[in-house]
């Protein structure tokens, strides 16, 4: 990390910003780049804000404005990230005002919401920003008072000296802003935290409960038109021709246009998923009018055939062939079974698994499957765009503005400095909004119709437009010797279109003879990250398998895992094991103690346990199931999580509870079926989501207390829920469940 000084002459800045007066202004780019200066002016700071580093502005009246760098989709970053700054800045949280930062990767860092990375990535830079600003305020006070800076102290926004002198931050902000940003300022010891680790209310809570326009769908601009896309009825189809005469006669309709998203050979970025490339668009004055006119379109579709895509993502430039054809779930299942029998790519091998399996007294083999899942964010995909020859302004819900900007720049033929991306609050994300296709569409439509437009996906569009959690399968095999000791472990997994296997995860490292293999089947059904990608399937399959294995070994499922983890901690097998066995065992121990685990039964409850490591954190659940009205029902859950320092405990608890509810819902009901390329679930009448009365009565969340730098939380508690539910279901029904969803008969509500 390097602090770049971007020297501004006070007068010239004030002049260029037309500020009436106010204090001195300093700009400092926390993330090094000379471009900081241009971006700074675009911020259009209000009068009298004194900016200290990229994130913090202090008013003369002591109000502190903190910019949140990362877009918010419900994971609480707009509260928790500013808390981290406020902690080191040492201000009274009551005086803090939080605002969503603009898209500015130079000044505000990567700004990627996803991969459970926000708090983890920003923990150190934000602490350093807060500490640097505090130091500058102290220096300003020391200079003013003529005392050594080492004698100056702060407390909750007040600077003091033993002589009795004291000043509010606001009084020193102007002077502080003339100083250079210091380097290497010491950070607080965790024991001294006054804001971090204190339950802190959502800074946008009041706006949410009063219905203020926070979301992309709420965005409005003068002269804005509404656009909707008519996409093909099935994957593998494309637009052939259309007749818009009737649609154009409908009230409020301005235009019907067709356009192409990517020209042939266009270099797509790693997250530029191409679902439907030929767009047929209805543009009109209001949503209802556009929805109705869209029904009047007469459209001919045709099969698309194989498509060559040029990807230029992180893996370098490469050509990818997407196969044509109309896929159905039944044929996909058959194909997966066929591939599962074929030789696959070896991902990891320890010892001599072949011999161990040959010599085994008992081999257990089980195969698990899981379907495509739709993200079903409550706020359907949408984006505002106003593209002119000079400039593009786009605003809406987006997880990764930094990844989207280069592609948008190429598509619009506008340089990045002429593109302004505003990030609204997101009505859910779950990975879906890391794929900015809907933003590109909105921008291209605006460019074509030469007007500000808001593109809206209906719920049906949202559910049938692709970018799903892939379809997966995995076969697990375990070899036991005559004394029921585990001597070999084998996982072979595959999917459409990606292989789910994490080869270096537990139980790799805990078994002498280990083999992991993977394969994949290409498909034209587009997929993307879905809350804990791959892990959300692996945890379900592997943790169910371990439960069955423990039973075969005659061991308690927690004790069996603890023994394996002890082995992995003391004498790990192989290299590159990507988990910390002691922390993994720590969450199992915590959930065992808190739930009063004594095997698979507790009074009326049938109990299932599972644990998993992903996104740098550890989570374990005990799920307590009963039979209610003839149906299995998860009534009570105990959760244990190790994500290091918990920045905002109440919000973190909310997140874990939500992950548990989400996991139960998807395990029981989640699934998207294709027939001849057409998605069979088009809305919530056919795609069942968990509802209030199906959620547990209690979810007790416990965090491992330590001072380790924080790691992810949005994803890690989610995957093991599936395994714990499957294991409780076995105790409840006496049957093992190998295929998700576990309640397919009631999958549509």
């Amino acid at each position: 990390m390097e602090n770049i000084k971007t020297k501004y002459n006070r007068r010239s800045f004030l002049k260029s910003s037309a500020l009436a007066g106010g204090g001195l202004m300093l700009t400092a780019s926390w993330f090094a780049s000379a471009k900081a200066a241009d971006k700074m002016e675009a911020l259009n700071l209000p009068d009298q804000w004194n900016e200290l580093t990229g994130y913090i502005k202090i008013m003369p009246d002591n109000v502190v404005k903190i910019l949140c760098p990362n877009p918010e989709f419900g994971q609480n970053v707009m509260t928790s990230l500013p808390m981290i700054i406020a902690e080191e800045l040492d201000v009274d949280w009551k005086n803090v005002v939080v605002e969503m930062g603009p898209h500015d990767n130079v000044k505000l860092g990567p700004q990627f919401t996803g991969g459970s990375n926000s708090v983890r990535m920003y923990w150190k830079p934000l602490r350093e920003a807060g500490a640097a600003a505090r130091n500058m305020l102290c220096q300003a006070a020391a200079q003013t008072w003529g005392v050594p800076v080492s004698e100056v102290t702060t407390k909750a926004g007040i600077i003091s000296h033993a002589s009795g002198k004291s000043a509010k931050y606001g009084e020193m902000a102007g002077k502080a802003a003339t100083l250079e940003v210091p380097k290497g300022i010491g950070l607080k010891a965790p024991k001294d935290f006054a804001i971090v680790r204190k339950p802190t209310k959502n800074v946008e809570g009041q706006k949410i409960v009063t219905g203020k326009p926070l979301f992309g769908l709420d965005y409005r601009a003068d002269g804005m038109l509404i656009a909707m896309i008519q996409h093909p009825p099935a994957f593998g189809m494309k637009l052939k021709s259309f007749d818009a005469a009737e649609a154009l006669k409908m009230p409020g309709i301005k235009e019907v246009v067709s356009l192409k998203m990517y020209e042939d050979g266009f270099e797509q970025g790693g997250f530029d998923t191409r679902t439907f490339n030929d767009l047929l668009v209805v543009v009109g004055k209001s949503t209802w009018e556009v929805m109705n006119a869209r029904k009047k379109l007469k459209v001919q579709w045709e099969p698309i055939g194989d498509i060559k895509e040029t990807m230029a993502g992180r893996g370098g430039k490469r050509e990818v062939v997407v196969p044509g054809g109309l896929e159905s779930t039944s044929t996909q299942m058959e194909k997966m079974q066929e591939y599962a029998q074929k030789p696959a790519q070896q991902l990891r091998k320890d010892g001599d698994p072949e011999t161990a399996f040959k010599n085994a007294a008992l081999v257990i083999e089980r195969t698990y499957t899981a379907p495509f899942l739709a993200h079903n964010c409550m706020e359907p995909m949408n984006f505002f765009a106003n593209v002119t020859a000079e400039k593009a302004v786009v605003a809406g819900p987006l997880q990764a503005p930094g990844w989207a900007e280069p592609t948008l720049s190429k598509l619009l033929n506008l340089p990045p400095e002429k593109i302004e991306i505003q990030m609204t609050r997101m009505g859910g994300g779950f990975g879906r909004r890391a794929y900015a296709q809907y933003m590109y569409e909105a921008a291209l439509i605006s460019q074509k119709v030469k007007a500000p437009v808001k593109l809206i996906y209906s719920r049906e569009d949202d559910m049938t437009y692709g970018i799903y959690r892939p379809m997966y399968t995995a076969t697990y095999r375990a070899a036991l010797d005559a004394n029921k000791n585990l001597i070999a472990f084998h996982v072979k997994g595959g999917g459409i279109p990606e292989n789910p296997v994490h080869a270096n995860r537990f139980p790799a490292g805990a078994v002498d003879n280990y083999l992991a293999e993977g394969w994949q089947i290409p498909s034209n059904i587009t997929i993307g990250a879905f809350r804990a990608p791959r892990s959300n399937f692996n945890a379900a399959a592997e943790q169910s398998f371990l439960d069955e294995l423990a039973e075969a070994m005659g061991k308690d499922p927690i004790e069996m895992r603890m023994e394996m983890l002890e082995r992995a901690a003391k004498n790990p097998v192989g290299k590159n094991n990507d988990y910390d066995a002691a922390r993994y065992a720590g969450v199992l121990k915590l959930v065992r103690d808190k739930s009063g685990w004594k095997g698979g039964k507790d009074g009326k409850y049938n109990r299932g346990v599972a644990a998993y490591f992903c996104h740098n954190s550890y989570a374990a659940h005990v799920v307590d199931m009963v039979t209610r009205n003839g149906e299995p029902y998860v009534e009570r859950v105990f959760s244990a999580v190790d994500c290091g320092v918990v920045v905002n405990p109440d919000a973190a608890t909310n997140m874990v509870q939500g992950a548990v509810v989400d996991g139960i819902g998807n395990a029981f009901y989640g699934g998207l079926v294709h027939k001849d390329g057409a998605v069979q679930q088009t809305n919530f009448d056919k795609y069942r989501l968990i509802r209030n009365q199906e959620a547990p009565k209690s979810i007790e969340v416990h965090f491992v207390e330590n001072d380790i730098d924080p790691t992810g939380l949005g994803e890690p508690p989610f995957p093991p829920v599936f395994g714990a539910v499957a294991n409780a279901l076995y105790k409840t029904t006496g049957k093992r469940h190998y295929q998700q969803p576990f309640k397919p008969e009631s999958a549509s509500s």
Binding site: Q206, P213, T287, M378, P380, N654, V661, G665, R691, E694
Partner: protein, 151 residues
């Protein structure tokens, strides 16, 4: 197109729209009141919940032509200062994650408490099961309703 005189949050509002237009879109597109959310358009998710004469209804299934001058209350008008007991309880329990569904949840909860001031756990779960929360905040929704019921 036809003109309608509506009574929304105690104020007279006039719109000139297609008679079939659902109140959801009248509110959002024509009256610039985006607190009422679009989630599914088929009365399955509850994000668009408003009150019609004090009772929760799904505004996506309520054509403007059916409203006449009956009183519509939206999240923006549930209380003047955002201090309805349900709104306060929502803040006390810090219910929201993404927050998108919460105006609909709050409108359903306020309607429930109006007709049933002391709901049982079952009453709450049953009344609130028409409102989907994709983030899974159901436990806090129940707790907040119980807190609001005490006030």
């Amino acid at each position: 197109m036809a003109k309608y005189n509506l009574n929304i949050n105690g104020k007279a509002r006039q719109v000139d729209v297609d008679p079939a237009t659902p109140m959801l879109w009248v509110l959002r597109d024509h009256l610039d009141m985006p607190g009422t959310k679009y989630g599914c358009g088929i009365a399955q998710c509850g994000a668009c919940t408003v009150h019609l004469n004090g009772t929760a209804v799904r505004s996506c299934q309520l054509p403007v032509s059916a409203v006449a001058n009956e009183a519509i209350t939206t999240i923006e008008g549930l209380s003047e200062k955002g201090d309805h007991p349900v709104q306060k309880a929502w803040l006390e329990h810090d219910v929201a994650q993404c927050g998108y569904c919460q105006s609909g949840q709050i409108m359903s909860a306020a309607s429930l408490l109006k007709s049933n001031p002391n709901p049982s756990d079952e009453d709450i779960e049953s009344a609130m099961s028409g409102n989907i929360c994709r983030c899974g905040t159901y436990l806090r929704i129940r707790d907040a309703i119980k807190t609001a019921a005490k006030k």
